[in-house]
Subunit: 332 residues, 2 copies
């Protein structure tokens, strides 16, 4: 009756960190064991606050996340961090990162830190990360932080799948413009200007607030659906330890079930629905990709790709043929 | 007999820039007119050299691409640039960028510059960009440059779909490490250290060469499939105009049909096959996504998403049900 997946899930839930680590590896590898464990754990999930933290390289994200985690722990709550680390075969970045990060919280069972390797995932990284967050949620962590390195669309997309998205921005002339260009501010629920101790941080925060005001006006003029709310802009100095409590308070105001007005509750529900649709579309595509790379479809894909590479076939016509093949294999 | 798509394609091919612009808009919007025009133009494509240029923000990509385009023009060849611009509703970045860029080459029919808006494309941007490159190829441009802003996985993926990928890296303490972390060096055929006129550029190039050597050794030790070749590292100063000719020569050595040894030719064919498979998988997924968002699938997606958002359904089980629905709609 008890499958290995259910045993693993049970052990992870009772605080067995090795079991949790193994389970997350199964989730990352998209195995059937991971899937079965997820199905078993899903009903227990739903109470953790999923927080995405993203920003450009060198913005001080990791330091901020560490400070935030310490603050959460001081209040007696537990926190798990999923760090998306564009790893390299050269540095083995993800593993190294884990070790460095673990030291500050070594021996504290209320903190769990795990790097997700970006390598080899392509579009599936967001899905694997969400599944890993569900596992951590079911294991009882009060807050699950998804930290994404980088400023690319993919990384931004992952952070924006969290219930609350924090965009980290270092103070620096013109960096606000880069943030705008990368579409970062559009997904932000909270914008944090880090390094509040250095000169220019106040001005950077002011510039960001001004931009966000102009953006809200532009939305109205362009007839775009206005963004749910204008994000808060907060100043944090991880070095001096200022602003972290305010950041945590701002995050907590957006927690599932947080006391807020009814408009907020309806808005959070709408956002959760959009996120669920995005996740489901991603999971359907992941299944299609897997089917395309096995059995008859795999060899047909190869044949079509050869014709396309040789400029003998129109890729769109080839894609139509592959889709027909996939659809014909109903029930396989 | 002559569809609007074929008329548009014909006009674009004979040098009508307004028709070309309209056609690219159809391609970006993924319309049936765009599809039909592509099918018509595909057989004429295949001789342009598709060059991806990517690198972190502020690395001098745009300046480098402008210098490269001028060099190509001096040799009497034609060049088109597709600039991927993570645009914002606030700045309207893409359009502004086009105008600024066009000025240097205004009135020169041998240069065509077009910004592709990253907004709203999600995973589809790479597909739209490849289709746009095919159109420009069929219109007779000798070189098509795809310039991607940003350092994210998505942007890197787009640039790496080109036949030749140039990674641009500014000289700066530690920036090489960021490039490694972002997985940039792994997709590079050629690495360009820009701003060769500033102090430290030589050291940066040296550090990159050393890293790439270590990487190649690591691959061997780890038993990974070695990368095709170690990328060349070149120094360019767009300000002083040095290194651009060498860069163009390095690019030309990788052109389709370039004289090289047989091992190179076989390697280029293998790489083209991998790129074609990636494109086909993307196009199949794009079709699945479109189908999921129309008709009965659309409402079922909404119902399932509500259950998932309310934590009443396991997203994986919901995705399986949606895929079954899609497969059952065979021949629709």
């Amino acid at each position: 009756m008890t499958s290995p997946a259910v045993t693993l899930a049970g052990a992870a839930r009772t605080g067995d960190r090795r079991a949790l680590g193994r389970l997350l590896t199964e989730i990352e590898a998209r195995t059937s064991t991971g899937r079965a464990a997820l199905a078993d754990m899903y009903p227990s999930a739903g109470s953790a606050h999923l927080v995405g933290v993203t920003g450009p390289p060198g913005s001080g994200k990791s330091t901020l996340v560490a400070a935030l985690a310490s603050r959460v722990r001081k209040q007696g709550r537990t926190v798990a961090v999923l760090a998306i680390d564009p790893s390299s075969p050269i540095t083995g970045g993800a593993i190294l990162g884990d070790r460095v990060r673990m030291q500050a919280h070594a021996g504290d069972a209320g903190v769990f830190i795990r790097s997700m390797a970006a390598r080899g995932h392509a579009g599936g990284l967001a899905l694997a990360t969400l599944d890993a967050a569900t596992v951590l949620d079911a294991c009882g962590f009060d807050m699950v932080v998804i930290e994404t390195v980088g400023t690319g669309q993919g990384e931004v997309a992952i952070a924006s799948l969290a219930a609350t998205t924090v965009v980290v921005q270092p103070p620096g002339l013109g960096d606000e413009v880069q943030a705008l260009k990368a579409g970062l501010l559009e997904v932000a629920d909270i914008v944090v200007v880090t390094k509040a101790d250095v000169p220019g941080a106040d001005q950077a925060a002011g510039a960001l607030r001004a931009m966000l005001t102009v953006g809200a006006q532009h939305d109205r003029m362009a007839g775009d659906r206005p963004r749910p709310t204008r994000p808060e802009v907060l100043l944090v100095s991880a070095v001096e330890g200022t602003g972290v409590a305010e950041l945590l308070a701002a995050i907590d105001r957006r927690a599932p079930g947080a006391a807020g007005d009814r408009r907020d509750a309806a808005r959070f529900r709408d956002q959760a629905l959009v996120r669920a649709e995005t996740q489901l579309l991603g999971l359907v595509e992941e299944r299609v990709r897997t089917r395309m790379q096995s059995g008859e479809a795999r060899s047909r894909l190869n044949v079509e790709a050869q014709a396309v590479a040789a400029h003998e076939a129109d890729p769109h016509a080839a894609a139509d043929r592959l889709l027909d093949l996939l659809m014909g294999k109903n029930g396989e």
